[in-house]
Each structure stands twice: as C-alpha cells, then as structure tokens.
C-alpha cells in the first residue's frame, strides 16, 4: 500500500486525535506470540512499530532490552521478521508497519538486500536508531526509491539549524524524542517544554507528520494529544514482562493496555 503512513495520519486527523503508534519487539516473547499481540492491538493502532532485536542496544532502557533479549533467546532472525511482517500484512493489509532497529543488523544483512526484503514483505517505514543525519542520507534515498518511509529523528539536543536540514531530508513522518534519555525513562521535561519543542519542528514544516516518543505512558499520553502522533513502546514491553512474570496472557493484557491508551486520546 503506497502512502499508507500518510493515510493513517489523515484518518487520525479527521477524527481530531493523534495517531496512536505502538512499539513492540518482533519475536517477544516468541515469534507467534509477538504476531498475535500485534494482530490483537492493531485495531486500536494507527501505525505499528516492530523492533528488530539486537544484543547491543545502546539507546534502549531496561524494558525494551528485556524484550529484545527474550526475542533473541527464542531464536528470532531477520528472515523470520520479514516472514512475520508478511503474515501481518496479509491479515491487516492497510495497517502501516515500521521496522525499527540498529544499523548493525542492516549493515550485516546488506543495505540493498535489506530494503528489497522490506519492500517484498510489505514494510512501510524504517527507523534506524543509530544512523543519524547526515550519515543516513544515502540510506534514506535508497528507502525513498523503494517507497519506504525513512523516519528521521529529532532530539531535544538537536539545534534548530540541524533540525532544518533534517526536516528537509525527511519523508512523511518525523520522530521527535521527547526528552534526553534512553527509551522508557520518565519524562524529564515538563509537558509545556515538550510541546514547545514540538511546535518548533512543526513551524519549520507544518505538512510533516511529527510523532512524539520516549516516556509516553498511560499517565502522560493525554497531555500530549495535540501532537500528530504518539509512540508508546516501553510501557507495552513492560506489560509483556509483567504478564509473563505473573503467568498471564500477554496478548489480552497488552490489548487492554492499548485500548486504555487509545481511550485517553479520543
């Protein structure tokens, strides 16, 4: 589906709410379970992000680390991930899916081969945590050529000059990191300050869809509902960890959590 990421934002905008974006790790805690979780929560989602687990995740907090280690322990490989994406897309052909990971996994697989596989399996977008601007220029171009959205990131430390350049080379979605932290820590800044940063980006190019991630939980999500989209990751991974620990079904628990998150922004 071309432009399905743009469509997702359009639908959310029409309903006067931010797009809800989940992040879970593909293969957490097993291949099948992670697909079941994604299928189940996708009815409340606008876009799904799936993490490619890596065993040296230098930008992730404890929750996502745990999810990644679980997935790796259960033997997930890149080819499995592409197959799972294909399966998901067969069930939910219009739901955009973004793969998120570290560059080593792509580098090892081969950039071109990786993008071809993404295209063939129906991946709509890519986030590469440690391939930042301007080092990602060529890779982003390669994505665009293959109708895959390369999602640029902007952090609280990004200068306005750099922001302009990043936005210029960005595709239909930009990811704003809310706070100086790894994934999953509490918001260090006030909501006001986060919204202020968000508005700086939006002012430079209003037509770009800007999503806010890092530190978004049940508690904080409604305060940020003026954004184009909100990403919830660690809170979901934490729920999977908790469910497994309490010997409960992560599929039902995570679905309940995502439903609650959705209710807070409609």
């Amino acid at each position: 589906m071309k432009n399905s990421i743009n469509n997702a934002f359009k639908i959310a905008k029409k309903e006067n709410r931010p797009a809800l974006i989940s992040y879970t790790v593909c293969g957490d805690n097993t291949k099948d379970k992670s697909l079941q979780i994604l299928n189940s929560i996708s009815k409340d989602l606008d876009i799904a992000e799936w993490g490619i687990p890596h065993n040296c995740p230098t930008a992730d907090g404890k929750d996502i680390q745990n999810s990644s280690y679980r997935a790796l322990q259960n033997g997930i490989r890149l080819n499995d991930i592409f197959n799972l994406v294909k399966k998901f897309k067969r069930i939910k052909p219009t739901k955009p899916i973004i793969l998120m990971g570290y560059y080593q996994m792509i580098f090892n697989f081969g950039e071109k081969k990786f993008i071809q596989k993404c295209k063939a399996s129906g991946v709509d977008g890519l986030i590469v945590v440690d391939l930042s601007f301007p080092d990602n220029k060529n890779f982003a171009k390669l994505c665009k050529k293959n109708s895959i959205c390369f999602v640029q990131l902007i952090a609280p430390t990004t200068t306005v000059k750099r922001m302009r350049e990043i936005i210029k080379s960005s595709h239909e979605m930009i990811y704003m990191i809310s706070t100086i932290s790894t994934t999953g820590s509490a918001l260090k800044y006030s909501i006001k300050r986060i919204i202020k940063n968000y508005n700086v980006i939006k002012k430079i190019k209003p037509s770009k869809n800007v999503v806010i991630g890092f530190g978004i939980t049940e508690k904080t999500i409604s305060n940020l509902r003026s954004a184009d989209g909100l990403v919830v990751g660690s809170a979901i991974c934490r729920e999977i960890t908790r469910s497994l620990k309490d010997r409960q079904n992560p599929v039902t628990n995570v679905s309940k959590l995502v439903r609650k998150l959705k209710n807070k922004i409609i």
Partner: protein, 404 residues
Amino acid sequence: MIKLKKKIPLIDQHDQFGFYGNKFGGNYCAETMRKPIEDLSKLFEKLRKNRKFLKKRNHYFKHYLGGETPFFKLENLSRHLGGAQIWCKDVSAINGDAHKAYHATVNALICKESGKRYIAGDTGAGMFGKNLAMAAKKMNLKCKIFMGTKDISRQAPNVKFMRDAGAEVVPVDSGSKTLVDAVSECMRHYVSNCDNTHLAVGSAIGCNIFLKICAWSTSQISRELKKQLIEEFGEIPKLKLINVIGGGSSALGFWNEFIDYDKKHVELIGVEAKYAAPLSTNAKVAILHGAAQYCLTDKEGQIAETHSLSAGLDYPGSSPLHGLLKDSGRARYTNASDKEALAAFKLITKLEDIRPSLEPAHAWSECIRLAPKLKKNDVLVVNNCGKGYKDKKIYIEQLGYYPK
C-alpha cells in the same frame, strides 16, 4: 589496500564523517548524542592546539602520574631465549599502574574545561575505572564507573580502589556481564545525561571523538620511547614493537610516533586474546558502540560473546584505528591463549623483576615465541602496560603462586 597518509597523525586520517579508509569508525549514535559529541569534538580540537592546556597536561603527566616511565633491557630473558635483545617499556610503573592513567587524566582535564561536573566511564580490567576515579577525585568531579558484574568480582582490588577514591561503581548485569555490556550501559547513561556528564570511553573505541581523545592521550608512551631509544642507541634501530590488544588503546599510544617508519624498520605487532581476537581471526566489519570495526559477531550480526581470563581483553570489538592499521598492512596481529599468557608470566617473573598483569602477559607470550627466531641485533620492545597485582588472585588460582 588502504594507504596511510604520511605526516598526518593517525587519529586525524579520517574524513568529515569520521571514517578511516572509508571503512572504519564513523558516528553511529542516537540523535540525542550528536550535539554533545560535536561540542566535545570542537572543544578537543581547540584544546589540543592550546599551549596552556598542553602545559597543564604535561604538568599532570609529570607531577601527578610520575613522569617518564622506564625503558630497560631484560638481560636475563634475552640470554635465556638466545635470540633478539628484549627491551621493556614499563608503562606499568606509572602512578595508576597502567597506560589508562594518561587517558583518564586527559578526560578529567577535558571534562573540567567543558564545565561539566560529572564524568562517566566504562571499565573491564578496572585500570581505566581506577584511574578515572583517581583523576576525578583530584579534579573534584563526580565519577560513575560502569563495570560488568563478572569483572567486578574478578578484578576486586581495582574495584575497591575506585570506591575508596569516591567513585560510584555501577554493576552491569546484562548480557555477558563483562566489558561489552559495561560500555553499552555507560553509553546509555550518557544518552540520558549528556547535558551535564562527560563521557570517558575506556578505550580507543566509540564514536570518532572518543577514540581520538584516547589515542591522543596514550601517545605519550611513544613520545617517551622514541627519546629513550635515541638515548640508548643513538638512532631508531631496527625494531619490533609488541603490544597487547583489547580495544587497542595502549598499542595506539605505543606505536603512534612510529607509524610513518617503514615496517621493515619498525614492525608493529598486536597480540589479542585467543577467544577475543577480531583482528587476528579475520572477523567481519561490524558496528559496535558507535563505530565500524573488526568485531566478532554471529551469522545474524549479533555481537558474539568472548572468553578470556583477562578482563581487559574480553571484548568482541577492536579500535577502528587498528582496522586501519591492519588493512593498510602497517601492523600485523596475532593472538595468545590464556595458557600461553600464563606461561609467559611464569617465565618473565622467574627471570626478571617485572610483574605484568594478564593483559601484557599476552604480549610477552608473543615476544617469547618470536625472540629465539631473531638475531642479536634485532630489538624487541614490549609494552608492559599493566601491573600484575590486580590479577594476583587469578595467578594464584591458575599457577599456584604469585611471585614476590
């Protein structure tokens, strides 16, 4: 084949994106870190040209770290092996017991200049942690050291030192519980605190600026050695410089002044631990801790686990600068097993008065292999880059004794 540039310091042979030979290094980091590392790069480039700062560095090297480390011939070992003459650059004689003292001190000085009050570093063998803790105390900085729980228990004397110096030692229990995870955790800490914390990466690894600072700091070793060689021989004789490689910070310092020499004149030999040997076992290039480098991985690209008795060598990656030296053919790399390192320690300490830690024991092992094949006018110099006391317990477990 990559070609090295003459008369340009090795650390400066990168392009605008931080790549050496279009292949090694780079800045593979989260967007949050980009601005802080750019600021740090600017600060470092300014400071390394600043006379006042250099004077301060030299003052600290001389009066705080104890000045020039000794260079001497090992008569007994040379005679025993019956080939080349063997010399020791005894960097372990420095206050701080290892080459990491230079690197830690410079990082603390840079932190001070940056106006940041917090400094964070990773450590495996504890040598960098201990020296960073000391330097932080000296310069009134708050210090956090990240260390794998396996290393905390096997390098206990250094951990005690860090804590006594007032540093907080943060145990890292994820993954292999060794250096690789300590570095990851330390980088995470930096991503979360880069507004007030200076990151001191413990070896010549990481994003471009971190490996530059490291290799720039340890190069003091080869500046001294060059002078000492000329004093002793009246010229730079035909040499082989043998150094152990973990991340590779001591070797880069030991070799820095000799890079421009022809390899037939000054040969550079790096010795890795056998089961943590990306450079000598034809590992692939991978991205680890912010840089492209030779690194042990599995087929899927996941970072591989390593095994070495030596905590300082138990690391799957290697400095991008060693990738450059390998691919340009300037240095050659080999490895030694735990057993060989222990045997080297046994022989060296029987014949000579030095007590190498497990890390340089690997370099000594290669020296012992090589010396008998060479002639009397061949000069072998080994960088004895760490003191053995921290491994006393391991030596006793493995050999049954620790020499006086």
